[in-house]
């Protein structure tokens, strides 16, 4: 059976991985290459690399950095930010991008998505849309949240599917960095609407939020940024929690957190003194392939 995907989002600004809050505030994390290395080791299913200031600075993708990130990961890599032409896409795939994420340029170039899908196949093209909820309606923004778009969200998403997007990546600006959980309402609506996989992004603050979004919607993957950057083994901790909640993800790390005590949100808590006293260290031979 197809597993739900746990996708790590690396947001890059000025060449640095950053934490993003509401598309407005950014805190530095460090080198995207190092981030990709540990995410890969900790068993994420896919890495999304988004260069969030390429488009607004009128810059092309940072091919050299993408190549370095690609070299650090043995799971699929999707790359977005600053992509305006088929040539950009071709150069990125040559630098190791497995999938291409397009967003802002689709508003100016109506043929770009169709051309990309016919050149690379739909399965290679992810259309992203940045959504903001205001007064109970959902609006689209582009260019890292700096431009308001007129298009209705539902029509736009249907259009993306029709033009050949292989996946739809929905980033909820109003949830970004809030740690209050995913916007289940809109993710469900979009996922029920289209026949291609939908990835939900924005709002993950605790493992329970991921259980909620996979239980409440039919989305194929949850994209997570900040949570993975501040907790060691965060993807493994999350996947162990999903497993105990009967959500099937790929688990192939040598260790797990299946029997670790947790709080209501699914975050792990300190084991009690007697458990710590019983703790033993074992040596695991590194697996040689």
């Amino acid at each position: 059976m197809l597993k739900k995907r746990i996708i790590a989002c690396i947001l890059v600004k000025n060449g640095l991985a950053v934490q993003s809050i509401g598309f407005e505030k950014y805190l530095p994390i460090g080198s995207p290459i190092i981030v990709a290395e540990y995410l890969n080791k900790w068993g994420v299913d896919e890495i999304v690399y988004l260069d969030i200031d390429a488009t607004i600075n009128g810059r092309e993708p940072n091919y050299r950095q993408v190549e370095s990130v690609a070299k650090a990961c043995f799971v699929p890599l999707s790359v977005g930010g600053g992509i305006k032409s088929i040539n950009h896409m071709r150069d990125l795939t040559r630098c190791g991008a497995d999938k291409i994420i397009v967003n802002s340029s689709l508003f100016e170039q109506k043929n770009l998505l169709m051309d990309a899908a016919s050149a690379f196949g739909s399965q290679c093209i992810v259309a992203a849309v940045d959504v903001i909820k205001s007064d109970n309606s959902y609006l689209i923004k582009s260019n890292s949240g700096t431009i308001d778009r007129e298009e209705s969200l539902i029509n736009w998403v249907l259009n993306l599917e029709k033009l050949g997007a292989g996946e739809i990546f929905v980033n909820c600006i109003h949830k970004d960095g809030k740690k209050t959980g995913f916007d289940i309402e809109i993710l469900k609506e979009i996922s029920d609407l289209v026949n291609v996989p939908v990835i939900g992004c924005g709002g993950m603050g605790s493992p329970q939020h991921v259980v909620d979004v996979f239980s409440g919607t039919d989305i194929s993957g949850a994209a997570i940024g900040n949570y993975f950057n501040f907790i060691e083994h965060a993807p493994v901790i999350l996947k162990s929690y999903l497993k105990t909640n009967n959500i099937d993800t790929r688990i192939d790390t040598e260790y797990d957190y299946n029997d670790h005590p947790r709080n209501m949100d699914g975050a792990i808590v300190k084991k009690d003194a007697s458990a710590l006293y019983e703790l033993t260290f074992t040596y695991h031979e590194p697996e040689i392939i």
């Binding site: 059976m1 197809l2 597993k3 739900k4 995907r5 890969n40 068993g43 299913d45 190549e67 690609a70 070299k71 043995f74 799971v75 699929p76 795939t93 040559r94 630098c95 190791g96 991008a97 497995d98 999938k99 899908a117 016919s118 050149a119 690379f120 196949g121 739909s122 399965q123 290679c124 292989g166 996946e167 026949n195 291609v196 996989p197 194929s220 993957g221 993800t249 790929r250 192939d252 697996e287 392939i289």
Partner: protein
């Protein structure tokens, strides 16, 4: 990565679409030497091939035909019996034909056709993207040391339909899809071993060990 002893290394066929870096990186990790090329001379010189693939069937075949290498490649594979591994679209190109965006002729190395994944009554999402378990014959040396529930990464809208005699692994996505094929010296994986983390690297190691023994 050049190697003076070219006939011992594998040739990655570069036909203009696809992510070659993910393959070369996996081969670097496993310690194999390889060449990357698209000329008839190199195809004749090398002793085994990888046909990678991300892209659309029509464009891929058009590129291969423009390069004028399909005849040489088929000759080396069919007559010289040199091993070839097709990955994802690379495997689909082995078929006689595909219905992706019209009708296209493939390389015809394996009797079979490529058709769109059927969403079926469950209304499955297409493309089939993500990690899925594979079902394989435990006795097949290609899957040695690979756990029963191992997942591999898929990203495809079309799938290979062929005689069950060529099928060596499958996965469940609505229907049972053929995801690995083998006919003599011809091997194909629908999933991406180079993107399937540890399980994928193990599988590639097994593949090279296997062809090293069988087709040396």
């Amino acid at each position: 990565m050049s190697n003076t002893n070219k006939d011992k290394t594998v040739l990655i066929i570069d036909y203009g679409v696809g992510n070659l870096l993910s393959i070369t990186k996996a081969l670097d990790y496993l310690g194999y030497s390889y060449g990357v090329s698209n000329t008839v001379d190199d195809i004749v010189r090398y002793q085994s091939y990888i046909l990678p693939g991300v892209g659309a069937f029509g464009e891929a075949m058009r590129n291969i035909n423009l390069l004028g290498v399909s005849e040489a490649l088929c000759q080396e594979v069919k007559i010289q019996k040199k091993p070839i591994l097709g990955i994802c679209l690379g495997m689909q190109l082995f078929a006689k034909s595909s219905t992706e965006d019209g009708h296209h002729q493939g390389l015809g190395l394996i009797e079979g056709s490529v058709e769109k994944i059927n969403p079926g009554p469950e209304n499955l999402k297409v493309p089939h993207v993500g990690w899925n378990e594979i079902i394989y014959d435990k006795k097949n040396p290609l899957f040695k040391n690979i756990d029963k529930n191992s997942c591999f990464y898929y990203d495809h809208s079309y799938h290979f339909i062929c005689d069950s005699g060529y099928k060596i692994a499958s996965c469940i996505y609505g229907d049972e899809l053929t995801v690995a094929i083998n006919r003599d010296n011809i091997y194909g994986f629908q999933f991406h071993p180079e993107k399937s983390h540890i399980s994928g690297l193990k599988l590639l190691r097994n593949y090279f060990n296997h062809i090293g023994k069988l087709h040396a």
